[in-house]
């Protein structure tokens, strides 16, 4: 299948965007319609380490988790919920494990739906198991197991299919610790997109066959890695201005899922999803201030601005004074959604959206660029050359630099160090060729010699 590249925006203007509303709502699971005027909590969890000992223990752990969440939702009166199971390795490497977990969870969800009428859906996020100890093996032996994992889960109860895929990561990991913008662009924008095209046309086919939804991917392996290394305001491992360039480049990469048949909701940790929503008009999950259990970020409110589903990313299953961790986080998420839904029902969604956005707009250059108005501009830069995966990624990076520069001329203050990194990045971007083939050839030569784990055959070269 050939990817349907986006060359225009779904929204006329940035201001048209809001949380809870999309151009293309998605019907899924038991009674849910996602992005259709209300927001939905999506609870994420990790089994305790000891639960991985056997398939029975693991299934049992997920059953407890599922019951706990459903029970708390009805206890506090929340009308809808999504559960996301991010596979532990065993579940993807042995697709029947994943399938059994999906089945066990869905059975419980159906009981609650029948008894209480609560609307719900189950997302399974398959692990990207296409690697061995030393190398990525994107097209190797494991590809069929990988696809089988999607299919088995879909057949056994999963409603939404996702993955956090890793194409391009070998080059990116090398580049990000060396301020190497060309490498980031090559890793995420080019290699990443090529791999996305391959896997998402296949995942979409599985979804079609099984009557489920191909939901979306995130550039966790790259843009989030950059965000993590960048860390908090006082960390000194990576300039935050570089982290946001990586993020901008990740938008056209993750967009490829939707160009190959995914329908959303995009996966929680894709901070690039706001750009993708502007382009596609599809629903997106986001995570932020209520996913502190999983990671710290510098835009915890801002990222709620246009979410349709609201997630805690991940929490290890354990007891807290207020219940189990999944109940506690689930309840917090659901209250956040109740607030957004109240805004939607009373026509105040835009002022709430703006407050979410403004409270972090100047906290960090990353938040500044992802503010919905600026994110929309990055989207425009992408669709301008939507057919050229290299150019659109480069456009995104350049637009990102421009936005930060404009910000600095206004109320965004950045450290001298961040400013220096931005200047160098801009210069590096300006020095890049306009021609995709030339760029691809240059990079292939360079990274084949510099990055010993980079195998061109992973990308069909």
């Amino acid at each position: 299948m050939v990817a349907n590249r986006y060359t225009s925006m779904a929204y006329e203007s940035a201001d048209e965007m809001s949380f809870g509303k999309t151009k293309h709502p998605v019907k899924a699971g038991l009674g849910l319609e996602i992005g259709a005027g209300y927001t939905i909590p999506e609870v994420n969890y990790a089994p305790r380490p000891e639960a991985g000992a056997s398939k029975e223990k693991l299934v049992n752990e997920y059953e407890r988790i599922t019951t706990d969440i459903m029970q708390r939702m009805v206890q506090v009166g929340f009308p809808a919920v999504i559960l996301e199971t991010e596979h532990v390795q065993q579940m993807s490497n042995n697709p029947e494990w994943g399938a059994e977990v999906a089945h066990a969870q869905k059975t419980i969800m159906e009981e609650y739906h029948d008894e209480y009428g609560i609307k719900c859906a189950l997302r399974h996020t398959i692990g990207d198991i296409r690697e061995n100890r030393d190398f990525l093996q994107l097209r190797g032996d494991k590809y069929s197991v990988f696809m089988e994992a999607f299919e088995k889960c879909a057949e056994n109860g999963a409603d939404l299919l996702s993955v956090e895929s890793m194409g391009g990561k070998e080059v990116f990991d090398y580049a990000i610790l060396r301020n190497d913008i060309a490498g980031m662009l090559y890793g995420i924008g080019c290699l990443g997109t090529l791999d996305m095209d391959m896997i998402w046309s296949d995942i979409a086919a599985v979804a079609k066959k099984t009557g489920t939804i191909a939901a979306g991917d995130t550039d966790c392996a790259q843009a989030n890695t950059a965000m993590f290394i960048a860390g908090g305001l006082l960390d000194k491992n990576l300039a935050h201005t570089l982290a946001i360039i990586a993020r901008a480049i990740s938008a056209p990469r993750s967009l490829a899922a939707y160009e190959n048949g995914a329908l959303g909701p995009g996966k929680d940790c894709g901070y690039e999803n706001v750009i993708i929503k502007a382009i596609t008009g599809m629903p997106m999950t986001q995570e932020g201030k209520t996913s502190t259990c999983a990671h710290s970020d510098v835009m915890g409110n801002l990222i709620m601005q246009c979410c349709d589903v609201w997630s805690n990313e991940s929490v290890e299953y354990h007891g807290e004074f207020g219940g189990t961790s999944v109940q506690c986080r689930g309840e917090s998420l659901a209250y956040d959604c109740a607030l957004m839904n109240t805004a939607l029902e009373t026509g105040n969604e835009k002022v709430l959206r703006d407050m979410f956005m403004l409270s972090d707009r100047y906290r960090d250059p990353q938040g500044y660029v992802l503010a919905y108005d600026n994110a929309y501009k990055v989207g425009e830069a992408i669709v301008k050359d939507g057919d050229n995966i290299y150019l659109r990624a480069k456009n995104a990076a350049i637009e990102c630099c421009n936005i930060v520069e404009e910000g600095v001329a206004g109320k965004l203050s950045i450290s001298r160090f961040e400013a220096g990194a931005l200047k160098d990045a801009k210069a590096a971007l300006d020095a890049l060729p306009d021609d995709m083939d030339q760029f691809m050839d240059d990079c292939l030569t360079k990274y084949q010699s510099e990055v010993k784990v980079f195998l061109p055959e992973n990308y069909g070269f």
Binding site: Y38, F78, P79, G117, E345
Partner: protein, 257 residues
């Protein structure tokens, strides 16, 4: 001030309790369950309504009519209480009703005892306590009330109860079951000590544990432990013990997670 339309409201929240409420009123439901016997009926009804005076009045009338006082415990008081327990389990009535009915029942039992020479047979004795260092006793109070409501004798050791006192009470009272309640992560470890001392002395009585801080995995770590999620599980566990369940069987039935 902002407000919702009825339509909007439904999109933001769901009052599942209202949506699910049973058709019948508690009184109607109880009416269906009362025994028909015209001497017993008023006693059962008075139990349900938690009116001690009416209970005693009904008992007196029954005795006057020739019923044996001590048999009225099982035949009237417990029958009334069974109605209460069933409706509580079904979610038709709430805990305070049970508490008030239990109070009325205890008064009734007292009255029957006073009017009789034979001692009543109870289903068995249960020793209840709150873990050492812990003053949270509401859960325990509910447990004892429900046990009594179900016909068990309860030795209530109260809150913040030293380990040795629990062991001594077991030696003395030979209960069919011990219960422990703990609401703090710091105090629940006392259960393990209680268990060890009981085992050491060969007192292998099932030890049902519950309360906010306690969870099934913790309780399953010591030999005698049986975890109970809700207070209403306590009489069910006790009934199962009488019916012959051992600890393994109790865990099988009550460890739901």
């Amino acid at each position: 001030m902002l407000d919702f339309t009825e339509e909007s409201l439904k999109k933001v929240l769901t009052r599942y309790n209202v949506a699910l409420e049973k058709e019948m009123t508690p009184e109607e439901a109880a009416e269906e369950l009362y025994p028909k016997d015209e001497l017993i009926y008023p006693i059962a009804k008075a139990i349900f309504e938690g009116e001690e005076d009416d209970v005693v009045e009904g008992l007196q009338a029954a005795i006057d009519a020739g019923k044996e006082a001590i048999t009225l415990i099982d035949d009237a008081l417990m029958v009334g209480m069974a109605v209460v327990t069933k409706l509580y389990d079904d979610g038709v009535i709430f805990l305070p009703n049970v508490m008030m009915s239990a109070d009325a029942m205890l008064d009734g039992i007292e009255f029957c005892k006073e009017n009789s020479d034979t001692a009543p047979e109870t289903k068995g004795t249960v020793v209840c306590h709150v873990a050492e260092g812990d003053v949270h006793d509401i859960g325990k109070n509910i447990v004892t009330a429900l046990l009594r409501a179900n016909g068990f004798d309860v030795v209530d050791l109260g809150r913040d109860c030293p380990v040795d006192e629990v062991v001594a009470a077991v030696e003395e009272n030979k209960p069919i079951m011990v219960t422990g309640t703990a609401l703090m992560t710091t105090t629940m470890y006392a259960f393990k000590e209680v268990n060890d001392k009981l085992v050491e002395k060969g007192l292998n009585v099932p030890f049902a544990c519950g309360g906010g801080a306690v969870n099934q995995d913790f309780v399953a770590q010591y030999e005698l432990g049986v975890y109970g999620e809700e207070a209403a599980d306590a009489p069910k566990i006790a009934d199962a013990i009488i019916a012959g369940s051992n600890i393994a069987a109790l865990r099988e039935a009550f460890h739901k997670h």
